[in-house]
Symmetry: C3
Subunit: 478 residues, 3 copies
């Protein structure tokens, strides 16, 4: 194992791209007893090797997590922070996290620093508040922190490198795990995740508690629309419209650089191709919704219509539901719902000088997860089984197979029991008939011999006492 | 059964008016063994006939629903849509639904069309999302759809016959069942209905996501009050104040035509007179509240103070609570609460350019249903038993009688058991005393004969077997 | 007992100050068998006497409550109202309540009258809605009423002695118990209290349903900040900053008179010194937060930054958590969180012309109580055990001791059981071996005598015993 983990470089910026569709399969290869088809066997062995190699840096990198357990605590915290950075997109993978930090650095040094401070304090806060070690190690207490840090820097009107900002950043990031824990104890009643609700609440509280007119921590000025936007459909810029898709992915972290968005897409692909596809689809759906509601083109180009849909589409499309084609359609439907809801929330929150944050994503995804249906193809995974779409799918298939097998076994048993019951019934009938015959013969004989039963009640009592005798025997044997 | 259903004309616009107070009784008539009072018997038979006839078009028309089950699916969907239209007022009756659509057509063709499209897509959506067939057939997935369709048309600033509006109408209506299902899985934890919450959420999302300043789907301009309204109490128009009562009922569907309101009142009377009375009382309470808070007369005349109170008063007054005089007072209290809350919500939502929709009704009715009390006369029906006030009342009376009977039976049993236990205790004492006597005599004899007990263990075993003997006696006595 | 209760004067304005830290101990004094140390014994006896005397007017005055049970109902209701007035600060003590009313009278007669009307109608409403008598007697249905009454008077723009205000005051106060009951049936799912949520909701509904521009019930004009406040740090007034601490405590009841605040602090000290300390700490934390966010000095002097923190710090610091030093830090942390949240909520609500009320306290305290942690020092008391910090602490210590004792007893039992099991196993082995020997001897004998098994049944039994032998081997190998 040591060798294989050494082969893995968690900071390598150029991730090898696994062939899509092969990765989700569990790396169990049945033995091949046929000796003749050597060619095929070798191919399969190569494939197995490749799958194993892929499993070292794709998915949630369990081997690396295991190896990390014995390292120095500072290294471990670094691992948790990287996983936390990627968990914004539901990805539990330190390599993706490192790539995401690279994207952030490409966008803006100061923002990246704030993001890192947020992740760090959030993770330390979770340790301080004695939260579950497993959840911390999966980065589940880091993703709200990175968003709090980043977005506080993004929306600050005090300019970059205003060092005082690190103070509220550290305070609110430390509060993240507390709020996550509080919200989780509500949402867990319905087996729902907390998503980025703690981030939404804390960034909104920070922004609205200071506001634009503040000496210490002024925020950028956001105001509601008060006149018809000037939209000329002939002026639409198609290439920029296309670029709005990666920008939308980048805006999940508040970044408007398309290359940063592309780096984020790559980081998703490393861990889970299904997630990556849904992220792109979500961003496209958001862009389409913006056009449908005749939003100002600037907003669409800037990715403001996309980022919520990216997250909503990932969450529904294979992350918390097992991916079937019905669920795929549901995810796209959720992306559109999320886009319209997002526009509404943005308009409402602008009345308080607030951005929409990721409220639209949280509310729409929670709604779509809360739905109940009698349709079997829409299967909500138990929250404890959620990992990443490919593994979820494997779990779902195994679960379904198991259920089918159980059902068949039960049916078989029932059939056999029925058969036995029929046979027994037949035997009983035969026995009864014979006994009746014997009884009747006896009665006939008795009549002939002139003996009449003196009292039926006595007979019954005798039978009963015989029964009691048996009971006594049974009791003594016990 | 075929004959009786043929006698029923679901589209007849002139409903026969059942004598109020008789209808709620279940149509079970005890046999009349007294042969002498022929006159009275004939009267009772006539009354039973009338009740049966009334049950074919009043209440929830179960005979019609059963007959419909075997019809063509399109006809069934039409039935569900009509029931959905009436379910806004908690009425599960296709005849009432048809009358309501007639009222809508009287008000505005375009609105009626939008309402129908909303109901249809909402019902189809429920089938698409595999919701419970029983709930769909009761129209429970249609009433949010009709409101979404109607109110989107009412609040659209693009004018009537703007055909593009049917697109968002169909989209949001299809989302209704999804949202209903999601909210139901929260509210069912407290055995609460979802009321019109899905409609409120979706219409608000649609309106605020586009807003007044939009090229595709502009909304009417709603702004908060910013100066003292000009109110001269001498200018009050009493006839118009009276007309505001049916207008308030009409405003449940967004209609300001008083005749439409009167048609709606008639449609309520067809299904359930109790509902009808509470609707009128609610509208009056709303009007009075408006005067108490010195609202502009225009708003009161326009029915804006009434429609929420109509719904709240119906919901509390016999629909979800069993109707007693305490519940009747509670319903009127809820109507006033709802009116004040409504004014508050309208003022808040006007800051975002939104109307109050039926948020005030939902929040006040949920609050009044969520209350717990030790008062026995305020009995909240289990959600699964809720049908319509008259049937609810019958169920409540049966339930109460059953409870009393159970209690009496239990008390009787307890008394008898006590008596038996006393007797048995007496017998046991006598038996014990005799056995003791026998034992002592035996021991005295043994002493005399010089035999001493060789082993205590044997003694104990003998005692135990004696105990077993007693058990056998007891068992035989039972 | 009669003597001791007579010694207690519930209306005495000059409460004796119990030595801090002694009061929480339960008044159980173990017998002192050592006769020699007379001096120490006398001291202890004196201390016990003092503790008993203190228990008559401190804490929740259980002796007085018991004595009151047999008095005239009007006197009882007065007791409940006084307890209700103090319950705003979580204090269940009629003496504190009386002192608080004295403070209110010092501030403003009209406000005090409105507060009393609110408490009275709220308590009567709870009786009308058949709420639990125990909760009513603890004042739990009065504290929302007093706040509703007071704050409606405080925020009314119609001036003092506008008698019509008593009408909505009575209506909304009567609604308080209904709303409390409804919210409790939600919050009880997570074992959370309702705090002052009913007051917040009802006062906001009243204020926003009428608004500033109203003929009958105009409210004071509250508007959002629209320019940079003029803050010169050199102009800060340190004595006034210090006075803002008692003013912050006074603002819990809407009072800006520092002497009223000091009276309130005294009333807290009567019942529970821990509560008193946390109230002062909370107010100081709020003041510091105001400076940190560069709030206008006027707001800080006026106590607007303090009152929510006072309540939050009391609630977390020993009231709903058992007081340890970790919980003490958590309480201070909660006070800061509450202050920032309060600023945010005030900014949002000012957009609707509303004050922040105690929303920030409710939301922050609920969040901090909802948090789950694996840290044993942060122990959330079951809601049914919450009384006052000192008694809570005593309960917690007893509970902890009991748990430790149970654990030890269990461990001891397990050890003994293990020992017994080992001995029994040894005995069984010896027995088995002997039986095996006997069996084998018998078999050997049988073989010698040439006897073959006449029946298969016997064979089977032998096989079974052989199987058992194998089992024994297996068990021994394990």
């Amino acid at each position: 194992m040591a060798k294989s983990t050494l082969a893995l470089s968690p900071n390598s910026k150029k991730p090898p791209q696994p062939p899509q569709g092969e990765q989700p399969q569990p790396p169990q290869q049945p033995p091949q007893p046929q000796g003749g088809e050597q060619q095929r066997t070798r191919l399969q062995r190569d494939r197995a090797c490749l799958l194993k190699a892929v499993s070292y840096f794709a998915g949630d990198m369990p081997a690396f997590a295991k190896w990390m357990e014995k390292r120095f605590i500072v290294l471990q915290i670094l691992d948790w922070c990287l996983r936390g950075a990627a968990q914004v997109m539901f990805v539990n993978n330190p390599l993706s996290g490192a790539v995401i930090f690279a994207g952030l650095i490409l966008q803006n040094y100061w923002w990246a620093l704030n993001g890192f401070v947020g992740t760090l304090f959030s993770t330390l806060g979770a340790m301080m508040f004695c939260q579950s070690r497993g959840a911390i190690a999966a980065g589940l207490y880091g993703y709200n922190g990175i968003l709090v840090g980043l977005l506080m820097a993004v929306f600050s009107a005090a300019g970059d490198w205003y060092w005082w900002l690190l103070l509220p950043n550290a305070f609110w990031s430390t509060m993240c795990p507390l709020l996550s824990s509080a919200l989780a104890s509500i949402n867990s009643r319905w087996d729902l995740p907390v998503f980025t609700l703690p981030f939404n609440i804390l960034v909104c509280v920070h922004m609205v508690s200071t506001g634009h007119f503040n000496h210490h921590f002024p925020q950028v000025l956001i105001q509601p629309r008060s006149e018809l936007p000037n939209i000329t459909w002939s002026e639409i810029d198609l290439p920029q419209l296309f670029w709005s898709i990666p920008v939308g992915v980048g805006q999940v972290y508040g970044c408007d650089n398309p290359w940063t968005g592309i780096i984020f897409i790559i980081s998703l692909f490393i861990s889970s191709p299904i997630t990556c596809v849904h992220a792109v689809l979500g961003s496209a759906a958001g862009m389409a919704s913006g056009l449908a509601l005749s939003a100002p083109f600037g907003d669409i180009y800037f990715g403001l219509w996309g980022y919520n849909c990216v997250l909503a589409c990932i969450a529904i499309g294979g992350m918390f539901y097992a991916l079937t084609w019905q669920v795929h359609l549901l995810a796209i439907c959720c992306a559109f719902f999320c886009a319209f809801l997002g526009s509404g929330i943005a308009n409402i929150m602008s009345a308080f000088g607030l951005p929409a944050c990721t409220w639209p994503f949280c509310l729409s995804a929670l709604t779509f997860l809360q739905m109940t249906t009698q349709c079997e193809a829409i299967f909500k995974l138990p929250l404890s089984q959620v990992t990443y779409p490919e593994k979820n799918l494997a779990w779902y298939w195994r679960h379904k197979k198991q259920q089918r097998r159980d059902k068949e076994a039960k049916e078989k048993e029932e059939k056999e029991e029925e058969k036995e019951a029929q046979q027994r019934a037949l035997e009983d009938q035969v026995l009864e008939k014979e006994m009746l015959k014997v009884d009747m013969e006896q009665m006939a004989e008795e009549r002939r011999s002139g003996m009449s039963s003196p009292d039926e009640g006595v007979m019954l009592e005798e039978e009963e006492s015989a029964g009691e005798c048996t009971d006594v025997y049974v009791a003594q044997n016990i």
